[in-house]
Subunit: 240 residues, 2 copies
């Protein structure tokens, strides 16, 4: 039975980290909320699993994954579950925890990237919090992108320079690719500049993009373009 | 060999979620950064593990835990590791993932609570971002505390009303206690009001506080009082 991914149908967002793992593994999956309501899919199917009061273990928010009877929310937990099943996690407990720890650090950067355009409230539009966004985005580019990318670069350099964990691609590598891809979209100048000082990260971004299945995925209509509704948004005024 | 917890010595912060699990289990542990430099502890010992370039797998930030050769960062990953070892996690994979998913949702609220006083940058003081903090704290109390606590309340109500997962205390219960305790300190009015509508959460907070080992811990000098350097801070102007 194919995996069922539930996520917002018009953005990459947090769901993209799960999509990339499924795509790299060539796994069968249904991106449910992007399907048609008449097929029992679409946003209605997602809302039912989030809001039906009879659901004992609802996710707090998308993305979530259904694999038969198991429903898992939180991006990092989904990848913790999928990693070994998709051949995208190392074998031992300590190595798997380390991979997960890296993923959780990616998630921290993602949350901070989101808050550059929503520093006050998710219930408000960007325009309603633009002055605060200008301030937060400036600090994010000056301090946070460099700090985080330097950490990933150190981890890559202390491993084999090509993978974050061990000698094969893990979901953490795919997630770092996606993080860098998003940062390049949202803050191209600051990110390009930071990448020149973090060559392992830049090389990993290139290498993952060229992996056959990832490359095919990125060129397909399954890859939703970056846009102004997602986590990574490009507002010229935030990238001066 | 006792567990070694590395975390900032003067705040509860994210380290407190780990301390509570260790205390509930009666585990032997050393709170390393609170020890004396002359014993090889203190902040120097923590900095060495974070900053020494020879460390192949440094945590991005405290807290991190050392158990023999294994060093784990990220609060939720630490608890994922400790849970089964301390008897604070359920047995099956799906139940363990669900416990972890709840912990990750607690972590999301913790990050948002932190950003009520630091909505712009961790590199700035609260006073340097007070106007933005006023705005963010208002939304957090009006929308986010009610949304999150309602979710935890639903989860409790759909389980046995007393535990988040199964029929015994897990680290998720301890973490929800700590989250509510922090919210009550930072935003007493909004949190009290929200708890009257989420009685399972209020009851769990009371029940965990009264567990013998937790109660003894909270009364001991090992429990650092809430203060204005931690994640949960009480600024009267943010709690009008």
């Amino acid at each position: 039975m194919p995996y069922e991914l539930y996520y917002w149908p018009t953005i990459q967002g947090r769901g993209e980290f799960v999509r990339l793992a499924l795509e790299e593994a060539g796994a069968e999956y249904v991106d449910v909320a992007r399907g048609r309501e008449e097929d029992g899919q679409g946003l209605g199917a997602m809302a039912a699993l989030l809001e039906d009061p009879s659901i004992a273990r609802p996710a707090y928010a998308p993305p979530f994954l259904r694999d038969g009877d198991v429903v898992i929310g939180q991006t990092a937990a989904i990848l913790l579950y999928l990693g070994p099943r998709l051949g995208l996690a190392p074998a031992g407990e300590a190595d798997r925890l380390w991979t997960h720890q890296i993923q959780l650090t990616v998630a921290d950067v993602v949350a901070e990237a989101h808050d550059t355009h929503h520093p006050i409230a998710v219930s408000l539009t960007y325009e309603d919090q633009q002055p605060e966004a200008l301030r937060r985005a400036k600090d994010f580019q000056a301090n946070r992108i460099p700090e985080y990318l330097a950490w990933f670069d150190h981890v890559l350099g202390r491993n084999d320079g090509l993978h974050l964990v061990g000698g094969a691609t893990t979901y953490a590598d795919l997630s770092l690719f996606q993080l860098v891809d998003g940062l390049l979209y949202a803050f191209p100048r600051a990110t390009e500049r930071t990448l020149t000082e973090n060559r392992h990260v830049a090389a990993l971004h290139d290498a993952v993009r060229q992996r056959p299945r990832i490359s095919a995925y990125l060129a397909s209509p399954r890859r939703i373009p970056f846009n102004q509704q997602g986590i990574f948004r490009h507002y010229p005024e935030l990238d001066p």
